[in-house]
């Protein structure tokens, strides 16, 4: 039971985290009605996952061999693009969104395409969705004895726990101040996207479309990227015990470029400190 619990929780954790963040985000900017895009995106992803699970089971030949890899790559890099766009938007508009709720609604309305948040939900759920569907399906196929039932119960418990974690992120996130919420989620999305980006590079190396692939170092003696803490760090920040040179390069370059986009305040503040100028709050309010 424990093993199936861990497998499903690990697959579902990232999706739950993303859903929790975007639900809370839409609440924070005063657009709770747009949460339907997220619900729709998530639901479509579940349908797509089941469809893909069926396709993988029914089809065979080169399409079945290569198709899942290509889809996985499109989803990974699509998610990176969407998360980058979202982080960039939050970074640019976090100051406008500081005021009262009405100001936030207006600011978000003016420049944000909220339906794209639904696409983030789609990629988040679909990324590990088909695998999870196939895994649970496999569990249901062996229900002839007690161990089959406990395994299925473990898988179901993993799914429920992942959902509960997502719900906690949502509840916690909507209670934070806008500034703090934007600050924290910008960081989470920054590292999540960097991890996804380097995972995409690794997959490209795995199928031979990018050169290299041999690990540059090995920290699996310290923290295995497939068990407990290391496994969750792998999902959250893209931790790899044996990363390749290109994966590390991609990770670092993404972090550098994206932190510039996501956290312009950081650079502005540093710049101000250099000049020794204090920016009055009034300026922000009258802007």
């Amino acid at each position: 039971m424990g093993a199936t619990f861990v497998v499903v929780l690990r697959e579902g954790f990232e999706a739950a985290l993303l859903l929790g963040i975007v639900y809370a985000y839409l609440t924070q900017i005063g657009h709770p009605e747009s949460r339907r895009y997220v619900t729709l995106g998530g639901a479509l992803a579940v349908v797509a996952s089941i469809a893909m699970g069926i396709a993988v089971s029914v089809l065979s030949g080169p399409l079945a061999d290569v198709g899942p890899d290509v889809i996985a790559l499109v989803v990974i890099f699509g998610a990176v693009a969407l998360l980058s766009w979202h982080g960039w938007w939050m970074g640019r508009h976090s100051r406008e969104l500081r005021g009262d709720l009405q100001r936030r609604v207006d600011a978000a309305h003016a420049s944000h395409q909220l339906w794209m948040v639904g696409l983030i939900a789609f990629t988040g759920v679909f990324r590990e969705g088909a695998e999870t569907v196939l895994f649970l399906w496999g569990l249901m196929a062996q229900l002839e004895d007690l161990s089959g039932w406990t395994a299925l119960a473990g898988g179901a418990a993993g799914l429920v726990t992942a959902a509960a974690l997502g719900w906690l992120v949502f509840q916690g996130g909507r209670r934070l101040s806008v500034q703090r919420f934007f600050g924290i989620t910008s960081l989470v999305i920054l590292f999540l996207a960097a991890g996804l980006f380097s995972a995409g590079i690794g997959r490209l190396q795995g199928i031979g479309l990018l050169p290299g692939g041999d690990p540059l170092w090995d920290t699996s003696w310290l923290l295995d990227d497939h068990r407990s803490v290391g496994g969750f760090l792998a999902g959250l920040v893209g931790y790899r015990a044996r990363p390749s040179g290109l994966e590390i390069t991609g990770y670092v370059l993404y972090l550098a470029a994206a932190s510039f986009l996501f956290l312009p305040g950081l650079y502005r503040r540093a710049l101000r400190r250099d000049r020794g100028v204090e920016e009055p709050d009034k300026l922000i309010l009258t802007k």
């Binding site: 895009y37 065979s60 899942p68 699509g78 190396q205």
Partner: protein, 117 residues
């Protein structure tokens, strides 16, 4: 809402294009095929010897009734093989060394390694 539908259609079109474009590119030449079976949640053989420096293809037949996921952290491969199905996995040219793999759905029993020499 309409926008969402439109972007969903765009995404689907991109996916189809991507699959169509990559299929011939990846499936073009046929390197050595190495048969592997999965039975009773185990890989057979569980040690696969290959020539270093040459890409190869693992042809994995899952004889169990349920799916298994062939996974190798070192090779950057994750591939679900449904029960009763066969899947081909291309593996890049490897430097001499040992590369462990496992079955994600049965990691306790489904363990193996590729030895490149």
């Amino acid at each position: 809402m309409q926008r969402l539908v439109r972007s969903g259609a765009l995404l689907a079109a991109l996916l189809t294009l991507g699959v169509a474009a990559a299929t011939p590119a990846i499936a073009a030449d046929k390197p050595t095929e190495i048969p592997v079976t999965i039975e009773n949640n185990r890989f057979k053989p569980d040690e696969i010897r290959v020539k270093a420096g040459q890409p190869f293809v693992l042809v994995i037949t899952n004889k169990d009734a349920k799916p298994e996921e062939f996974e190798s952290k070192d090779l950057r491969i994750e591939k679900v093989i449904p029960g009763g199905k066969t899947a081909s996995i291309r593996v890049r040219a490897l430097k001499p060394g040992t590369y462990p793999f496992f079955g994600e759905y049965n990691p306790k029993t489904a363990q193996g390694r590729i030895v490149a020499e």
